[in-house]
């Protein structure tokens, strides 16, 4: 037990914003978490070079979702559109941050989406990525970034998706002793943030071990003013985890980045089929 729940502090929350960001839910979630942790929100708007290249192609057309009509675009149009988009997002971040009295900054960078995000993530404690946007908008770059962070990122990653607010619990998956403390600490922060129930799924070889670990966890949480329900995790495949989380109606699953369940092809299953948000505790 090296990390107690109250000891975990996210100082810098990175919020990558690109031209595909559709709404303010990520922004609102970041602000809410930052307000609770007294952290800084760093908004970074990346002007993806792929978009500039696209606009420079002679046949470049943009399809408007509301009219389903195609219009000719060029590099200048794209630059203007990106600037406008960045302006809107900056204003929105400023407004929300001022309301919640949260420190904030906003940067515009031009380059490769993945490289820029990884670069910024180095100095951050938590990065927020929208996997809902990945699915809904078919943002190729976002998908690439998400995949990368899932497998290689260093900081904690919060893979968000827009879900209705309800009473569903925060689930912490403790399948590895070494990373378990950090997973639990992160889960506690999210449970506190949203005032939600905490459900801890513990991988154990037998009932005795489960009981022991559950007891330890109970003591740890009690000392920190938290309560949690513990359940044994007897199966070890990603599909089983998805089923358990679905049955538990989890709102958010906190899982260690190096969890065997998130390695290999497992991360793809989790991304595709898990009906909740995911936090990869780094």
């Amino acid at each position: 037990m090296t990390t107690r729940p109250h000891e975990l502090i996210f100082r810098r929350i990175l919020l990558p914003l690109d031209s595909g960001a559709a709404d303010s839910t990520d922004l609102d979630a970041a602000i809410r978490l930052a307000a609770r942790l007294q952290a800084e929100v760093v908004g970074i708007f990346i002007e993806d070079v792929d978009l500039m290249r696209l606009a420079a192609l002679p046949f470049a057309r943009e399809m408007a979702p509301l009219s389903a009509s195609a219009r000719r675009i060029d590099a200048a149009d794209m630059a203007r559109a990106l600037r406008a988009r960045a302006g809107v997002l900056r204003a929105r971040l400023q407004e929300r941050a001022l309301q919640a009295r949260v420190s904030w900054s906003f940067h515009i960078v031009q380059g490769e989406l993945l490289a820029e995000q990884l670069g910024e993530a180095v100095a951050s404690d938590l990065i927020i990525l929208d996997i809902g946007a990945r699915r809904a908008s078919m943002s190729r770059a976002t998908d690439q970034v998400t995949r990368h962070f899932f497998s290689q990122g260093a900081c904690t990653v919060w893979l968000r998706r827009a879900l209705a607010e309800d009473e569903r619990p925060i689930i912490a998956l403790l399948d590895d002793i070494s990373s378990g403390q950090r997973v639990l600490a992160v889960a506690c922060q999210f449970a506190r943030r949203d005032g939600k129930q905490l459900l801890v799924m513990i991988a154990a070889d037998d009932a005795i071990e489960f009981a022991r670990r559950a007891h330890d966890i109970g003591e740890l949480l009690t000392a920190d003013g938290m309560e949690a329900e513990c359940r044994p995790l007897t199966r070890s495949a990603a599909s089983d985890l998805i089923q358990d989380v679905t049955e538990a109606r989890g709102k958010l699953l906190v899982i260690a980045r190096d969890s065997p369940l998130a390695s290999g092809a497992g991360y793809q299953r989790l991304l595709e089929d898990l009906p909740c948000e995911i936090v990869l505790a780094g």
């Binding site: 792929d50 192609l57 195609a70 908008s137 109606r249």
Partner: protein, 806 residues
């Protein structure tokens, strides 16, 4: 012809004998009946009994005779035995909100419905949110939303797969989507693209175009999928809501299953609730500026019941008197509230009018008030013709105000309207409004005077008992009752009749009670009544005092001694509204030869009314008929009311005018100690006049002030003797022989009394007796005629006619 005899004191006042009553005070009496209004009561009974269209009532009679009290009492008695009419309410019209529905409910069930609907709404507000908070519901919604996402993602995934297979990527741009060829996971650089073979470029561009078409199809489908998804959620909501509210509404429906309108209404409520679930779930967001709501918050008012008419606690049918019959007070109104500076309204702001409240019963209205309120009479007629009340504001009808209006469904009416008014209004309406005849077929006419009989005296005593008890006044002893009855007779100006003016009688009782209390008595006595009458007069007779003072100071010349030719004392009544009195007026006459013309100076200067002029013409005709049948009436005479500066109306001075003229013609002086009143017809008969008591008392007061010598008196028409109810001091003077009252039937009797010379009756040869007044008049007129004849002869040639007859 005998000289008329002066009346005995007994003829001057008809006393009421207190002994006839057989009680000490009115406290011993029970409730009195209605006096002398048999005809009106029969009409009332008929009007109330007949249930046909147009048989509404007009109750007419002078103000203050108690029409309202009698009618109200009768109607309340009639109303008490009938079952109470149904309740009426207005309910929200879910199909046409600006046309609220009027619903008739069995008596007393309006309140229950109102409570049931309030409870139902409370139950719905609790039950609906709970139903939508279940996990099952959320799971269903999630499933539908996921299905929508899947549908879109599946389509996009297929497109993406096809795109990637062609080496092209679908990229999200700030304004939508775009396709671009990729190499090594990155969009191909423009320079590299230019290096591609033309065939490759053509292939890419063709692919992009084709893919754009496919993407466009998917994007076009998206709204449809979203709509389908919304419809599915809506259907789910409906299903959940129906399950939650169905049994609640069904319970209420069961309670009102005998009222089809309510069960239909509850069906509409159910549909509306399902259509407006966000309001019940608290999801309805009200737009606002600086915290001020731009629209009203979700309101459940539309499920309330506007119980317009509630007869739950009524006994019998309603009897309503509308004291302020404004248009909107009759037909009802729709009130408005201000919201953000605009006027808004809804069915709950519909207020009933008197027609609603009286529906099924009786509505009493004051005709004068009704007719003087703009549009009220027309509104009432419209309702009675249509047999329904339709609430429309004047602003709505005439577009005075630009705001939201409601058009509430009309409510059928079945009621009797009873109008109270005076005769003038009644005949005015009869003459000028044909609708009045159609709608008010029953006339109940109240008498203002009843015959003075012992039975009526006793009934009147009973009425006084009721009035004193109602007003908590002291009872009257029998002598006081007798005095009130005598006063009633005086008010009626008829010793054989009794005025039934309830309002003034009530005033007299109140004031008598006051004076009795001042005197420390617990019973009202004759003295108190007399004092009250005297003080009533005293409070208002300032002008009479001034008039009499003017005469006594000889500012107004009235002789009450000696004799004068061509001058007579006439009597005129001055009506001040609440007080009348009479004063003597000097009439003078001059006569000379002329062409048969009598000049009425009052008429010439337009100070004489038409009836007065008629009287003068009658006496002109009578003069010619009596004295100049066989020769021209060769007279020019003038008559004047001396020192009269106002309008002279009426013919009650025509006897006096005739006597003044005869005196002037016959050169016989008239005794100025006498005054005369009466009208005359063409045959010389003296006819009754009004105000005889005032006239006698008016002359008496002047004569008494100057000193009565036994020769003073008043000549009155014999027909007026039955009207005499004179003051006690006049009667005392008569009894003492110091004042006389002469009844006359003909002008000859009046002339004889006034001149002291017999008027004279034609003998068998048609001649008047020598020395008689008539003979002198005839001779004078003959002289005038002959003189005129001489003047009319032609002048011989060479001679000029001069002014002197030969």
């Amino acid at each position: 012809m005998n000289t008329p005899k002066a009346l005995a004191p007994e003829s001057l006042y008809t006393h009421c004998d207190p002994a006839q009553f057989g009680f000490e005070t009115t406290a011993e009496l029970g409730g009195g009946g209605i006096i002398g209004q048999e005809r009106a009561m029969e009409a009332l009974q008929f009007g109330v009994g007949i249930r046909r269209e147009g048989y509404n009532l007009f109750v007419l009679g002078p103000p203050g005779i108690g029409k309202y009290s009698v009618v109200r009492q009768y109607l309340e008695h009639a109303a008490g035995t009938a079952p109470a009419p149904p309740d009426w309410c207005y309910l929200h019209n879910f199909e046409q909100p600006d046309r609220p529905c009027a619903v008739r409910l069995p008596t007393g069930r309006g309140q229950a419905l109102r409570r049931d609907m309030e409870r139902l709404v409370d139950d719905l507000r609790n039950a609906i949110p709970v139903s939508f908070e279940t996990e099952e519901y959320h799971t269903h919604v999630q499933e539908i939303e996921e299905a929508l996402k899947d549908q879109r993602e599946h389509a996009l995934a297929e497109l993406t797969a096809e795109t990637e297979s062609r080496g092209i990527a679908l990229i999200r741009t700030p304004g939508g989507y775009a396709f671009a060829p990729v190499r090594g996971g990155e969009v191909i650089k423009p320079d590299d693209y230019e290096q591609l073979p033309d065939e490759e470029k053509q292939r890419i561009e063709a692919s992009v175009e084709e893919l754009q078409g496919k993407l466009a199809n998917i994007l076009r489908q998206t709204p449809k999928w979203q709509r389908e998804s919304r419809d599915r959620i809506k259907a789910l909501d409906r299903e959940v809501a129906l399950f939650a509210v169905g049994h609640l509404i069904e319970e209420v429906k069961k309670k009102y299953q005998d009222i089809a309108a309510i069960t239909a209404y509850l069906d509409a409520v159910q549909n509306d609730v399902v259509e407006h679930l966000p309001e019940f779930r608290g999801q309805d967001e009200t737009p606002n500026i600086l915290g001020i709501a731009l629209t009203e918050k979700p309101s459940f008012r539309r499920y309330q019941v506007n119980l317009l008419i509630d007869h739950g606690r009524s006994q019998g049918v309603p009897v309503v008197y509308e004291d302020t019959p404004l248009y909107q007070n009759l037909v009802g109104r729709v009130e408005h509230l201000t919201h953000m500076g605009a006027l808004v309204t809804d069915f709950m702001l519909i207020k009933p009018g008197a027609l609603h409240r009286a529906n099924g019963g009786y509505l009493i209205l004051d005709a004068k008030k009704l007719l003087t309120e703009p549009f009220a009479w027309e509104g009432l007629k419209r309702a009675l013709y249509a047999r329904e009340v339709r609430i429309q504001s004047l602003g709505q009808i005439y577009s005075y105000v630009s705001t939201v209006y409601l058009e509430p469904e009309a409510i059928p009416i079945d009621l009797k309207v009873v109008l109270l008014g005076d005769r003038f209004l009644y005949y005015l309406l009869q003459a000028y409004d044909p609708d009045f005849i159609e709608l008010f077929k029953v006339t109940a006419e109240f008498e203002d005077r009843v015959e003075r009989t012992p039975d009526n005296d006793r009934l009147y005593a009973g009425l006084l008992a009721v009035l004193t008890q109602r007003e908590d006044l002291y009872p009257l002893d029998s002598a006081a009752v007798a005095r009130v009855i005598e006063h009633g007779s005086r008010q009626a100006e008829d010793a054989e009749r009794l005025a039934v003016h309830l309002s003034s009688t009530m005033d007299l009782l109140r004031e008598s009670d006051y004076w009795a209390r001042q005197a420390g008595r617990v019973v009202i006595t004759r003295t108190d009544v007399q004092h009250a009458i005297d003080m009533q007069v005293r409070r208002v007779d300032r002008i009479r005092g001034q008039v009499q003072e003017g005469i006594l100071r000889n500012l107004v010349l009235i002789d009450t001694a000696g004799a004068r030719i061509g001058q007579v004392n006439a009597l005129s009544v001055i009506d001040l509204g609440n007080f009348s009195f009479a004063q003597p007026t000097r009439i003078t006459a001059n006569a000379r030869m002329g062409e048969g013309e009598i000049i009425d100076i009052e008429r010439e200067v337009e100070l004489g009314g038409s009836i007065h002029s008629k009287g003068v013409m009658i006496l002109t005709s009578m003069l010619a008929a009596r004295y100049a049948q066989d020769r021209p009436l060769s007279l020019t005479a003038s008559l004047a009311f001396e020192q009269s500066y106002g309008l002279i109306e009426g013919d009650s001075a025509s006897v006096a005018e005739f006597c003044a003229l005869i005196s002037a013609l016959a050169a016989v002086p008239i005794d100025q100690r006498l005054a005369v009143t009466g009208s005359v017809n063409q045959h010389g008969q003296v006819q009754a006049i009004g105000g005889v008591n005032h006239k006698i008392e008016g002359f008496f007061d002047i004569c008494r002030a100057r000193g009565l010598d036994g020769g003073h008196g008043v000549i009155i028409p014999a027909a007026n003797v039955v009207h005499l109810m004179l003051r006690e001091d006049v009667i005392e003077a008569v009894r003492a022989g110091r004042f006389k009252i002469y009844p006359v039937e003909s002008v000859d009797e009046a002339i004889t009394l006034l001149t002291g010379v017999p008027a004279g009756i034609r003998d068998a040869q048609g001649e008047y007796p020598n020395g008689s007044v008539n003979q002198r008049v005839e001779d004078r007129l003959r002289d005038f005629a002959e003189l005129r004849h001489e003047f009319a002869k032609p002048v011989p040639d060479g001679h000029e006619n001069d002014d002197t007859p030969a």
